[in-house]
């Protein structure tokens, strides 16, 4: 049975990911790889004075460059530390207390980077444990994000666990937070504008 290719992630986003800076930044996630064969005239990738890239060399490449090479079996992908067992265990233990801001892809793109990584072989093999870890972490943190976004106007200053939590948001969560906050603000503005109109 030929397996159907997994649809590429991030399609049909209502916000239009094509123009999204965050989505473009997620591609720049640095992934450690090992070279599977000698590549002539590519020593500059390693950053040394060597002319050729030797088999077995370890180097870090941005995801957009590494992915086609991984698919063609020129490189072997190694899971970056930010998606490794330590972070996964921390997320399982208490997803809300993990600071995702500086993990993963460029500009805090933890989930986006993770999705790219899990589907890096383009449907041949999906990293299920990683997807599962990201999914459950997102669900757990999402509720807190929604909660916090509704109460920003009541929140006087930056203090406490809620503030700490908001400092460690990933780009996806920040977007969620922003939209929730805007909706709450708009509702408040609308009901108060009515009040003004009535008192005139």
């Amino acid at each position: 049975m030929a397996s159907q290719p997994t649809p590429p992630p991030r399609q049909g986003d209502p916000a239009g990911d094509f123009y999204s800076v965050e989505a473009a930044l997620a591609d720049s996630l640095k992934v450690p790889c090992q070279v599977m064969l000698d590549i002539p005239n590519s020593g500059h990738l390693e950053g040394t004075a060597e002319k050729h890239l030797r088999k077995g060399t370890n180097l870090e490449l941005p995801f957009w460059l590494a992915q086609p090479l991984i698919v063609k079996d020129i490189m072997e992908l190694k899971v970056p530390l930010s998606y490794g067992p330590r972070v996964r265990n921390a997320l399982t233990a208490s997803a809300r207390s993990v600071n995702l801001r500086n993990l993963g892809g460029g500009g805090g793109a933890f989930y986006a980077g993770g999705v790219l990584l899990a589907h890096s072989t383009q449907g041949v093999m999906v990293d299920e444990p990683l997807v599962k870890a990201l999914d459950s972490a997102y669900r757990e943190r999402m509720i807190e994000v929604m909660d916090q976004s509704q109460h920003t106007s009541a929140d006087g200053g930056g203090e406490g666990a809620a503030y700490e939590f908001c400092q460690g948001l990933d780009t996806w969560e920040k977007q969620l937070f922003h939209r929730g906050e805007t909706a709450a603000k708009e509702f408040k503005q609308w009901s108060e504008a009515k009040l003004k109109k009535a008192s005139r």
């Binding site: 049975m1 397996s3 159907q4 997994t6 649809p7 992630p9 991030r10 986003d13 209502p14 916000a15 239009g16 989930y111 999705v115 299920e128 997807v131 599962k132 990201l134 999914d135 459950s136 997102y138 669900r139 999402m142 509720i143 929604m146 909660d147 976004s149 509704q150 996806w172 977007q175 969620l176 939209r179 929730g180 805007t182 909706a183 709450a184 708009e186 509702f187 503005q189 609308w190 009901s191 009515k194 009040l195 109109k197 009535a198």
Partner: protein, 226 residues
């Protein structure tokens, strides 16, 4: 795209309020008027006849205009009385479901409280109604919060949610929904397969033997989560 980002997330509260002005509401007119149609051609809306003290039904915007000129009294709907709202609040706090308030209860109550507060009967003054509505809103928001925990990439049902509450939720929920789908693009397929096993076991068994679910079976562990 010419549409602003804000517009792509849905309507604004003002839009909803504007649309709700077409809603019919009962008034007690203070002027006599035969059946009248406006000058907008054959399909023009008709108003009247007004025979005080008989009640009449007119669009909300028309009622508000007449009210402004002192030519009618708006009949506040029954569900907006203190007794009815207290009952609603009790229901809301004792049950897990949303109580069946009208779809536009937020917009209409807001409009009436601000522009026709003197039309509320004495035994259910607008101040009391305001406080009750606030309590109801808070109770409902708490339920929405619980509902958010059950958000999954396949479906979501919250019966009796009002239009304004949907409007407030739409940007966050649709974003979260989209992200959950990105995290787990196969979720819908899994749900369909699980549904088939429950409903049409024979067919599911046949298709499983043909190997059509193969990719689903490999990820069965994930399915159990939902």
């Amino acid at each position: 795209m010419a549409l602003s980002h804000r517009r792509r997330w849905g309507l604004t509260p003002q839009d909803l309020d504007f649309a709700n002005q077409e809603r019919e509401i009962e008034i007690v007119p203070m002027v006599r008027l035969p059946l009248t149609s406006s000058n907008d051609g054959p399909l023009a809306p008709q108003f009247g006849p007004f025979n005080p003290p008989q009640k009449a039904k007119v669009p909300l915007w028309f009622a508000l205009q007449m009210k402004k000129k002192g030519k009618c009294r708006i009949v506040v709907p029954g569900w907006l009385s203190v007794a009815s709202l207290e009952e609603t609040l009790r229901e809301e706090t004792s049950s897990d479901d949303f109580s069946p308030l009208p779809r536009d209860y937020v917009e209409l109550s807001n409009t009436l409280l601000h522009l026709a507060s003197d039309d509320f009967p004495l035994h259910s003054s607008s101040d009391k109604v305001k406080i009750l509505l606030k309590d109801i809103r808070e109770a409902r928001q708490a339920k929405i919060r619980v509902g958010a925990g059950a958000l999954n990439p396949v479906h979501l049902a919250m019966p009796h949610l009002s239009s304004m509450e949907i409007l407030e939720l739409r940007p966050t929920f649709s974003t979260a929904f989209q992200r959950l789908r990105e995290l787990n693009p196969e979720a819908e397929r899994h749900e369909a397969i699980a549904g088939m096993w429950l409903e049409k076991e024979g067919e599911a068994r046949r298709r499983a033997e043909l190997g059509e679910f193969e990719r689903g079976d490999a990820q069965e562990g994930m399915e159990e989560e939902y």
